[in-house]
Symmetry: none
Subunit: 209 residues, 4 copies
C-alpha cells in the first residue's frame, strides 16, 4: 500500500526546491514564474510561500543548495591524495564534467550576477562555504611548489578564478559563442577539444619554466 502523499513536509520542500531549480535555471530569476514552479512541483502555490517565504528567499535557498552540491562534489575529489599535476588535471576535468552535467548551476550564477549577487550577499551559508576550497587549492599549489614542479607565489584565488574562467566561460557562454563563431560548441568533440586546451592552459600557468 502506498503511503498517503499528504502531510509530508520534507518531501514537499524537496519537490519545491527541485522545481524551483528547474524553473530558475531555465528562465533566470526574473523570467521564472511562481505559478510554473508550483505546477512543476505538483504542489499548491501557498505551500511554496509557507515553506520559503517569497520568490527571493526561494531563489536564495536554491542557490545555497546548488553551491552546497558543487562544493560537496569538489570536496569528494580527494585532491590531497593526488600528486599536484594530477590534482590540477582533476580540477579541470571536474569543471568540465560537473558543469556539463549540471548546467543549471551556471545559469543560476548567470542570473545571480545579473542581479549583482544580492542573494549570495544575504546568505551567510554561501559566504562561509568557500574557505575550505581556497585552502585545498592553496595546499595543492604548495605541494607542487615543494615538489619543484610549480612556480612559487601563485595566488590560489587568482588561480582558481582562471581555472574556472577558462572552463566555465566556455560552457556558460556557449550559446553566444556558438552563434558568433558559427560552430556548434555543444558537441562532444568540441567539448573534448576545449577541455584539452584548458588543461594545457592551466598547467602552463602553474608549471615552472
Amino acid at each position: 500500500m502506498e503511503k498517503p502523499a499528504k502531510r509530508n513536509a520534507a518531501r514537499t520542500k524537496a519537490q519545491i526546491l527541485k522545481a524551483a531549480l528547474g524553473e530558475f535555471s531555465e528562465f533566470g530569476y526574473q523570467g521564472a514564474r511562481i505559478d510554473a514552479i508550483a505546477k512543476r512541483a505538483n504542489i499548491n502555490k501557498q505551500m511554496l510561500y509557507h515553506y520559503f517565504g517569497n520568490k527571493d528567499d526561494l531563489f536564495q535557498s536554491v542557490l545555497e543548495q546548488s553551491y552546497e552540491k558543487i562544493r560537496r562534489h569538489e570536496a569528494e575529489l580527494k585532491l590531497a591524495d593526488l600528486d599536484p599535476i594530477e590534482a590540477i588535471q582533476e580540477l579541470v576535468k571536474f569543471g568540465f564534467s560537473y558543469h556539463s552535467k549540471n548546467p543549471e548551476f551556471m545559469r543560476l550564477l548567470n542570473s545571480e550576477n545579473l542581479q549583482r549577487a544580492v542573494h549570495i550577499k544575504k546568505s551567510d551559508k554561501i559566504r562561509h562555504m568557500h574557505k575550505p576550497l581556497v585552502e585545498i587549492i592553496a595546499s595543492v599549489l604548495k605541494r607542487g611548489e615543494a615538489d619543484g614542479v610549480f612556480r612559487s607565489n601563485i595566488d590560489p584565488v587568482q588561480f582558481y578564478i582562471t581555472l574556472v574562467g577558462v572552463t566555465y566561460f566556455y560552457l556558460s557562454n556557449i550559446h553566444t559563442l556558438s552563434a558568433i563563431f558559427d560552430q556548434d560548441m555543444m558537441t562532444k568533440s568540441a567539448i573534448k577539444e576545449r577541455q584539452d586546451h584548458c588543461e594545457e592552459a592551466v598547467l602552463r600557468l602553474v608549471r615552472c619554466q
Copy 2:
C-alpha cells in the same frame, strides 16, 4: 541657439537605443521595463514601438550596436603593427579596459546567454561580424610562430575564448566572486592584480616552452 527638440527621427532613435542599453544592461532582458526605457529616453512609449517593433527587436538592436562597438574598438588596436607578444598583451589590456569601462556589454551578453542567444541567432549582422576578428588573432599567432616565440598549432578560436574567459569571467562574475571570496574585487588594485595574472596566463599559453 538651441536646436528644436522636436521631430527628429534620428535623434529619437538614438535616444531610445541609449536608454535601452542602460535599462537592458542594468536589469537584463526580462527585468528591463519598456516604460522605464521610454522614460529614460524622454520619449513617448509608442515611438519605441514605432521605430523598433517590440521589446525583442529592440534588444536585438541594442545587442547589434554593442557588438559593432566592441569589434570596432578591437579593430582600432592595430595589432598588425605590433610585435606578437605586444599584440597579445594589448589584447589582454584591451579586454580589461574595455569591459571595465563598458560593463553594459557584459551584462547584455549575460542576459543573452540566459536567453540562449535567441537574439544573436536572429541577427545576420552579428553573425557576420566575427570572421575578421578570428583572422586578426590567427595572424598574430602565425607571426609569433614564424618569429619562433609562439608554439605552433594554436587554434585561434580556442585561444580567443581563453583570452576572453580569463579576463571577462572575472569582470562579468565579479559580484558573485566578491561575495563568495569575501573580498572586493572591484578595487583598482584588485583589477590591476588580476590583469597581471591574466597577462601571465595568456602569454604562458602561447609561448614556446
Copy 3:
C-alpha cells in the same frame, strides 16, 4: 442569513459568463472590454483569465452557453406532439418571441459572423448541437407530407434557414431597417405585423398547392 459572497468558484464563473454575455452582445467581440466585463461581474479581472483563459475563449464559452440555451428551448417546444401546421406556426412564434426576449444571442451571432465564425469552428460542442434540430424539423416536414398537407421533398436545412431568415433577419437588422425605411420596427404592433407576415410566408412555402 446571507451566504458569504466570497470563495465560490461556481458563482464567480456564472457571474463572469453573465457579464460577458452582456458586454459582448452590447458591443460585439471587438468592442467589448475585458475591464468592463470584470466590472459588470463585480470580480477581479484576473479571475476571468483564471477561469476562461482569454478574451477569445471567454467569447467561445459565452457562445456555447447561448447556443445551448436556445437549442434547449427549441427542444422544449415538443413539436412532435403538435400537428404539422401547428408545429410550423409554433416555430415561427418561437423565433419571434425568443429573439425578441433574448436579443443578445442575435448580436453575438452578428459579431461571430463578422469574425467568420472562428469561435464556432473551434467549438466541438456547438458543432454537435444541431443534428437533433435538423431531425426534428425533418420529422415535422415528413409528417405534414404524410398527412397530405405539405409538399414533398422540402429540404429541412433549407427550410430552417428560410424560417430563421424571415424572422431573424427582421430582428437582427432592425436598426438599419428602421433607419432606412424610416419607421420604428421595434414597436409591439410592428413586430406582430411582421410575425403574421412570416407565418404566412412560411406556411405558403410548405403547403401543397
Copy 4:
C-alpha cells in the same frame, strides 16, 4: 508621360474610400484600424483625417457610397419593363448575385447593426435613398395584383424584408451556418440550390393560391 501622383484630391479620396471599404468590411467598424486603411490606400494617415474628419465619419461615407451603389444597381434592373413574376425572379436573382459579388456590403451592414445603426441615423443621404425602392416594389406588386397573378394587400416593405431576409440571411450568416450544419455553404452548387429555394419561397408568398 505619367501624370504626377501628387496633389490630386479626387483620387486620394477615392483611394481612401476604397481602402476603408476593404478594411471596415473585413474587420467591422471596431476591428478596423486607421493605420491599416492608410497603408491600404497608400496615403498618409493625415490625409484621411483631412478629407473625412474621423473614423466615424469615414465609416459613414463608406456606408453611403455602398448604399448608393446597391440602390443604383437595383434601379438598373428595369423591373418596370418586366412582367410581375419575372420582376420578382429578377429581384431574387439580383439579391444573390449582388451580395455574392459584393460581400463587403453585408459585412458593413452587419457591423452597422452591431452599432445600432448610428451612422445610418446620422446620414440624411441614406435615409432618403429608399423611398424609390419601396415604390418600385409596390408597383410590381400592384401590377401583379392587377394581372390577377398576385394576392392583394401585400405590404411592399414587409415583402421586401422577406425577400432580402431569405437571400441575404443565408449569405450574411454563411460562416456560422456552414459551421453549425457542417456543410460548406459557399460552394457554387450550394448557392444555386439556395437561390432556387428562395425563388420558390418568394413566389409562393405573392402568388394567388
